[in-house]
Symmetry: C2
Subunit: 79 residues, 2 copies
């Protein structure tokens, strides 16, 4: 099955990459942008037998840094 | 409104970061992972008046590299 993991910085954690993108958007003339945060999107193809606990463990051990990041697991399809 | 932009590598484009994550997951003992691709997740707070065309232009001009990446725009809420 396809699994999509969304990793984003926790609120309050400084995001220099997001600020750079925000600044660049303004420089390009786009108006009305109030805030930009940049995170990671990890798309995995895993065996259908993979448990939710295993997916959770992957995120906690490797995919996300739990000190500064949140994650959200989304199962896209079960083939 | 909150807008979420998902940027991922086009199929066929080599993804060294994804391979490294895949390898690390196997090294940690997780089985059944067939493929891993890493992309970006850009969360923006924009004015409600921002048009779809403007969002599309932001992606094409700055947020995604159209040669090797695809993007998907998701509007999350209109406050």
């Amino acid at each position: 099955m396809k699994v999509s993991v969304h990793v984003s910085l926790k609120p309050g954690v400084l995001d220099p990459q997001g600020r750079a993108v925000h600044h660049a958007l303004e420089g390009l003339g786009f108006e009305g942008v109030a805030d930009v945060r940049v995170g990671r999107l990890i798309e995995m193809e895993v065996a259908d037998s993979t448990s939710d606990e295993a997916l959770d463990e992957m995120c906690r051990k490797l995919l996300a840094n739990m000190v500064i990041e949140n994650y959200r697991i989304e199962k896209l399809e079960t083939a």
